[in-house]
């Protein structure tokens, strides 16, 4: 058994009075796996992955990469460890070219920092074709504004692909997509696993999650409330469990309301 690639222990994070995560333990295995992260709006999913990618610093808790405790976790360190994140909101610079977006922050440069534009365009073309977006409408030097929602996701994913991520994090990649486009993203995620990348896949949609994940983790109001392997459950079972959690959630709310009044 290899070391776990990533492990979070006792992570808590609050924004002012809002406690977004409470004592969360989370891990990604050493072998490539796809983990579905499910939860209601505001459950803390985005917060969790922002901690993994170093954007937020947790209030307390530890982060391990390949069994080694990481100090001063940051965006730079996270990237150096091979974590690549496709953000849910506003991930792209809309007026810039597709190629520039893929290489944003990590431009391919030659001497004195000059950008190898031709190489970037060629690589961008290749990547977009690999993912399966072979539109005739756009080229790698067209601005991202002109792309469809799915194509935009594709750009973000191509980014992760090019930099050969150990762990790819997709925050609600399918929300704005048509069914076929979503299916393409799933294909790509599976392909990436074959190539050796793990993936954390965030969604509201249980069916989507079940469809593609090896393991499902459910977050609810900042806590991990359930974790199942795909082999040990069926989608019907999963739906039932989720309903139970939602009901509990309702009860708790009722309780709070009662206590107030």
């Amino acid at each position: 058994m290899k070391n776990k690639f990533l492990e979070l222990k006792n992570i808590s994070k609050s924004f002012g009075k809002v406690s977004a995560l409470e004592r969360v333990n989370f891990y990604i295995k050493g072998e490539p796996e796809i983990v579905g992260l499910i939860g209601d709006n505001g459950a803390g999913k985005s917060t969790l992955i922002k901690i993994i990618s170093g954007i937020h610093t947790p209030d307390c808790g530890e982060i391990y990469i390949n069994g080694k405790r990481m100090e001063n976790w940051s965006v730079v360190k996270s990237r150096a460890s091979g974590v690549e994140t496709v953000y849910q909101d506003r991930a792209l610079a809309m007026q810039q070219t597709l190629a520039r977006n893929i290489f944003m922050g990590r431009e391919l440069t030659s001497i004195f920092g000059f950008v190898k534009s031709k190489l970037q365009f060629a690589e961008a073309d290749r990547l977009m074709r690999t993912i399966g977006f072979t539109s005739k409408v756009f080229a790698s030097d067209s601005a991202v504004v002109n792309l469809s929602g799915g194509e935009r996701q594709g750009v973000a994913i191509a980014r992760a692909l090019y930099f050969k991520a150990n762990l790819m994090i997709l925050d609600e990649p399918t929300t704005a997509l048509s069914l076929t486009e979503a299916q393409k993203i799933f294909d790509f995620i599976r392909q990436a696993r074959k190539g050796g990348s793990s993936c954390i896949f965030i969604t509201h949609n249980i069916y989507h999650a079940y469809d593609v994940s090896d393991r499902c983790v459910v977050l609810d109001r900042g806590k991990i409330v359930m974790e199942t392997d795909r082999e040990h459950t069926t989608v019907e079972q999963l739906v039932k469990d989720m309903q139970k959690i939602a009901q509990n959630n309702g009860k708790v709310r009722e309780g709070i309301n009662n206590a107030r009044s």
């Binding site: 990618s53 954007i55 965006v75 730079v76 990237r79 994140t85 953000y87 506003r90 991930a91 792209l92 610079a93 809309m94 007026q95 810039q96 520039r100 977006n101 290489f103 944003m104 922050g105 990590r106 431009e107 440069t109 004195f112 920092g113 000059f114 950008v115 534009s117 030097d141």
Partner: protein
């Protein structure tokens, strides 16, 4: 053969597509030149006319191309006029203390870069809006100059004809040296903006700040560098300004503020950040300078000069807008 032709056509259309904004500005310039040529061909075919234009054009060009970086990064700098003043004063002070004028230029550059750096720090570290903080900086510096000089100007007439003078605003084979400096600055700016990682990253920063942060771009450094670049440009302009007028006065650079911004906007760099064009700014600067000299030559009272500035600015902006809508 046919394939080759198609390739040519697509590459031309690509070129047009990429440089649309600059080309609109070029169109405005051409129309203006044609009108002036029709009204007064004698004056406008006379090289002397262009000599007069070149005298101020280089300063507009240098400042307008540097401004592109700041505006593309989503910020604005309203303090460069005062930086021109401060750098000019630095030069004059160095001269007065008997040091080499070249050293004076070096000091001016350092002072300009330093103020740009302070601007950048205030904006990126304290998080104050650049529009406001650079207004503050502008007052602060201009105040310092007035306090230090007690409002008195300093003549540098004695520099005329020295090798130093010739190196900055003399002429080589009849071509004004100050324009060569401007040309060099433009080449540097284009290299930085279109071919260098600095330009690529600053565009991303102005386009989508959050995402740039998440992608690991050092936003604070990039923005600060842009302000430093404007500071350096202001220092170069200060040297030209002082030498051209042969006098340093404490208000130096005051009138440049809005006119340089206008050149940038006419040139096709929009105010919202993320995109911009150096060549557009150069053309915008040309438009401003041509109006400046052309109005009088065309027989209109110079008092109407600013009216035409305004007219051209608004028309050019509308042109850019229509162009945007079309694509």
């Amino acid at each position: 053969m046919a394939g080759h032709r198609i390739y040519m056509i697509t590459s031309i259309s690509r070129f047009i597509e990429k440089n649309r904004r600059a080309l609109i500005a070029l169109l405005v310039l051409s129309v203006m030149m044609i009108i002036f040529l029709i009204i007064n061909p004698q004056v406008f075919l006379n090289p002397l006319m262009y000599k007069a234009i070149f005298k101020t054009l280089s300063m507009f060009i240098i400042l307008a191309s540097a401004m592109v970086f700041v505006i593309v990064s989503g910020e604005i700098d309203l303090s460069f006029g005062s930086i021109v003043g401060l750098a000019g004063w630095t030069l004059v002070l160095t001269l007065e203390s008997g040091l080499s004028p070249y050293l004076g230029v070096l000091f001016a550059l350092i002072v300009g870069a330093f103020i740009g750096f302070i601007n950048g720090i205030i904006i990126t570290r304290l998080g104050i809006s650049s529009l406001v903080s650079t207004i503050g900086m502008s007052f602060l510096i201009r105040g310092l100059i007035y306090i230090g000089t007690k409002g008195m100007g300093t003549s540098v007439v004695y520099l005329a004809g020295t090798p130093f003078y010739n190196a900055f605003i003399g002429s080589i084979w009849g071509f004004p040296v100050n324009m060569l400096w401007a040309l060099g600055f433009v080449v540097l700016s284009v290299l930085l903006f279109d071919y260098h990682i600095f330009g690529a990253q600053i565009s991303c920063v102005g386009d989508n700040l959050e995402s740039s942060l998440e992608m690991g771009i050092n936003v604070a450094t990039i923005k600060t560098l842009a302000f430093v670049y404007v500071g350096i440009a202001s220092a170069i302009v200060a040297v030209q300004f002082t030498l051209t007028n042969q006098i340093f006065y404490p208000g130096s650079g005051d009138g440049l503020l809005l006119i340089v911004l206008a050149a940038v906007f006419i040139g096709g760099t929009p105010g919202w950040g993320g995109i911009g064009t150096i060549m557009g700014s150069v053309i915008g600067a040309c438009i401003i300078s041509v109006i400046n000299s052309g109005i009088i030559a065309a027989g209109v009272s110079y008092l109407f000069k600013e009216f035409f500035y305004g007219l051209i600015i608004i028309l050019a902006l509308i042109g850019h807008k229509l162009n945007e809508k079309r694509c």
